[in-house]
């Protein structure tokens, strides 16, 4: 049951973009076209899941036993940066097609605060290994849902007469705000389902 709660909670209630304000830079950056949003989503789902697993192992097998908790930030960001590089190289060798599709998005993920954020949140919530991985998947799926939905909205805005000062970032932010308001509806649903 906890896994389902983490999954549903991560996708809808504590959505990374709409409730936790994580990964906003790439969210605004790649939500201009649906295909770009989908490409970035695939890369984020992959990296975030693997990163959640690896950082959990680093925290519980290396940092905790040796009392190096203060190195958490430094080691996590290095692990994620190395991981992204590694994934990029492996992908280039084994599946050039996928590499072509995801190639330009992969390096961007290192600076995606959502990956580090989800890893740190899992540690702070004292999740077990499987819970951390599920949390990673849920966060990534929530981010993907947000960015793909929003890309659909923004494609329509391309052909809408918007007042000049509001074009670009201002409409993107206000639109995200309205969408986040809509996602608030899920909170009530979540409470009746999981919190008794």
């Amino acid at each position: 049951m906890t896994f389902v709660a983490i999954l549903i909670g991560g996708i809808f209630v504590n959505n990374l973009v709409f409730a936790r304000f994580l990964g906003l830079c790439p969210f605004v950056g790649v939500s201009k076209r649906v295909d770009m949003a989908a490409g970035m989503s695939m890369a984020v789902i992959f990296v975030m899941t693997v990163a959640s697993a690896v950082t959990w192992v680093v925290q519980n097998a290396v940092l905790e036993p040796f009392g190096l908790g203060y190195l958490q930030t430094v080691s996590f960001i290095l692990v994620i940066a190395a991981l992204v590089q590694f994934v990029e190289m492996v992908m280039q060798k084994t599946s050039p097609g996928l590499y072509q599709a995801l190639g330009i998005y992969l390096p961007l993920i290192t600076t995606n605060c959502a990956v580090l954020g989800v890893a740190i949140l899992s540690i702070r919530n004292n999740y077990s290994f499987v819970e951390s991985v599920v949390n990673g998947i849920a966060g990534a799926l929530g981010w993907s849902l947000a960015v793909i939905l929003f890309a659909g909205v923004r494609e329509r805005w391309e052909i809408t007469p918007i007042p000049k000062p509001l074009q670009g970032f201002p409409t993107a932010l206000i639109g995200t705000g309205l969408m986040s308001l809509a996602f608030f509806g899920f909170q009530g649903m979540f409470k009746t389902l999981f919190v008794r």
């Binding site: 994580l22 990964g23 906003l24 830079c25 930030t73 430094v74 605060c113 308001l181």
Partner: protein, 211 residues
């Protein structure tokens, strides 16, 4: 001297990280539920930005350009860890409010952008000035957003324990949505739109004065 002042004011006004460059959105939206949170977040960013700019400028001749990004990250992460530990020890309440956004300063695009675009190419003094300027710009932006959200969302602004508009406030019903996540997006979006309008207006006026 003049260029130092220019560099600082550049970071605050012309290249304000939040309002002009639209960088570092995550903390600018997440911690701005109150003006005071914005102040402490801004202070943390100024410290990390200035120190990392100085160190990166000092070692810019030594780092091979191919691995410069990991090197920058290690320098930045070191200072972030310092801020993280100091805040955790001396101001636990504020640390609890700012939450994961203190360790997340390490992936804040403002700091990476200034390291890559400025500190790795300029002298130590200029890099420090740039760090202070950009940091101040960020701080002013988050304080402004925080003050607007706090005022509209709670009907009052509390600084260091004292309410600015008296204990009863101004007597209007606060819109709670403003201190919830949607309020953050809408406030910053509206502010950016307003700034664009003002800028377009002043540009039009300048064109009329000197054709």
């Amino acid at each position: 001297m003049k260029s130092l002042v220019n560099t600082i004011s550049n970071g605050i006004v012309r290249e304000n990280p939040v309002f002009r460059l639209v960088l570092g959105l995550c903390p600018a939206l997440a911690v701005t539920t109150a003006a005071e949170n914005g102040f402490w977040m801004g202070l943390a960013v100024i410290f990390v930005l200035t120190c990392s700019n100085v160190i990166i400028s000092l070692i810019r001749g030594v780092i091979p350009s191919k691995i410069r990004i990991p090197c920058f990250i290690v320098v930045i992460a070191t200072f972030v860890t310092i801020v993280d530990l100091v805040m955790h020890a001396y101001m636990p309440e504020m640390y609890a409010i700012l939450g994961i956004f203190i360790p997340l300063i390490v992936v804040n695009c403002i700091i990476m952008a200034r390291a890559e675009a400025f500190a790795s190419k300029n002298s130590v003094l200029l890099a420090a000035a740039d760090g202070i300027g950009s940091g101040l710009g960020f701080m002013i932006a988050v304080i402004v957003v925080g003050a607007i959200r706090e005022f509209l969302g709670t009907g009052n602004i509390v600084l260091a324990g004292t309410a600015l508009f008296g204990p009863t406030g101004l007597g209007f019903d606060p819109a709670i949505v403003m201190i919830l996540p949607p309020g953050a997006f809408i406030t910053l979006g509206a502010l950016l739109g307003l700034l664009n309008t003002l800028q377009a207006r002043s540009a039009a006026r300048q064109r009329r004065v000197c054709p």
